[in-house]
């Protein structure tokens, strides 16, 4: 495959860190309701959004992910009572820090998606995929290949 061809065939890869109790269930509901969305997202199941270490996010960018979404229960609904409040604090900072070093804001996002919000899951991943497709492959923070 030529370089040009590789570029033409490029498909964005988006990693979703989803908490088991809300967002993962929301993604299941999207499936159950047959809500279609682009096949570019990969859901990585964690118990709680509070489990998502910012280092995982940077690692994903290093390894060539084009976009990362961290998603969990809405504030107040955390299965583990308070986990997502810590997620919120941590990623409010992380988001700003990533933008400060030049990562485009679309590349890293955080959302609250509950177990009943299948349509929201569909809509969010659709939006992110479209945004990232328009931007092209991510080169920032990336390992030299």
């Amino acid at each position: 495959m030529s370089v040009k061809e590789a570029q033409a065939n490029w498909e964005p890869k988006i990693l979703v860190f989803a908490c088991n109790w809300c967002t993962y269930a929301g993604a299941d509901l999207a499936g159950l309701s047959r809500l279609q969305y682009p096949p570019n997202v990969r859901v990585l199941r964690v118990p709680c959004s509070g489990r998502v270490n910012p280092q995982f996010v940077i690692r994903a960018f290093q390894r060539g992910i084009d976009g990362v979404l961290v998603a969990g229960c809405h504030p107040g609904d955390c299965h583990y009572v308070t986990g997502n409040y810590f997620t919120r604090r941590r990623y409010l900072l992380m988001q700003r820090l990533l933008q400060y070093v030049g990562v485009d804001p679309e590349r890293f996002q955080a959302r609250w998606i509950s177990g009943s919000e299948g349509p929201k899951f569909q809509q969010v991943v659709k939006e992110i995929t479209e945004q990232i497709r328009a931007m092209g492959p991510n080169r920032k923070l990336r390992d030299a290949q």
């Binding site: 910012p54 940077i58 030049g102």
Partner: protein, 299 residues
Amino acid sequence: MSDKVKKMQEIAREILEKGEAKVVIGWEKGTHWYLSPPAFIDKPEEVERLVWDDFCHNNLSKYLKDYVNHEGKVAIFVKGCDSRAFNRLLQDKQIERDKVILIGIPCHGLKDQDKAKELGENADIPKAKKCVECRYPNPLVYDYFIGEEKALDEVAAASEARDFSDVEAIETLSPDEKYEFWNKQYERCLRCYACRNVCPACSCRECIFDQTRVGWIGKANNASENQFFALTRAMHVAGLCIECGECERVCPMNIPIMLLNKKLIKDINLLFGPYDAGVDVDGKLPLGHFDKNDPEEFM
């Protein structure tokens, strides 16, 4: 010899003679006139090595970690920033308050070592950047105090308001410009970890950057791995950085590390309310608690 230096030596001598502490950590004159490295004095007759001048930059509190398992007390001199560092380590339970004798010394603001080297001894050497921006020139905690209590107010009045203009300058760049700026900085990083070693907010026994077993970071010294290091280090000191600027001073490649730290400080203050690390020992850490009414941007 200034009165302050005399007083310093006097207190140090007294402490050593009475056996209140086994060692006194202060500063002494180094190889060059613009260097005042740390001095570790354990004999009363050596107290004359101690100095206090425009170049006593080293934040001494971090050295206390080396004495945790020593018997007896350690005495150290603390400037405003050293005292915040002390509080920080106390907060992280890395040291014990009653094993340390603190000798507070209000700081008038130190001079820029690099400029000093460049301009020569007789020039008018500007203050170090961290000192221009310093808002805590006075030691926050001490057992002995050098100088007049009145000096506290005078020095405090001299401190200037917090300045984030350098951070703001970067914030206004486009994403690509920002990336280019930081990429250039971190391409140079040697990953010597001097910034980490000197940092009073870094108190881990084994840093994740040394954990090759888990493989948090690759061995390759390239911009990608270096930025993983830079961003992770910044997140790890978020809410803990006491703005002593030691990381930046010790960086052999002159990477503006404080620009990352200050960005986080700025955002913490903006998002979660005013907070200065190392001031209130019993207070909650910004990332150690939350408020149900924190800003909501993830809906």
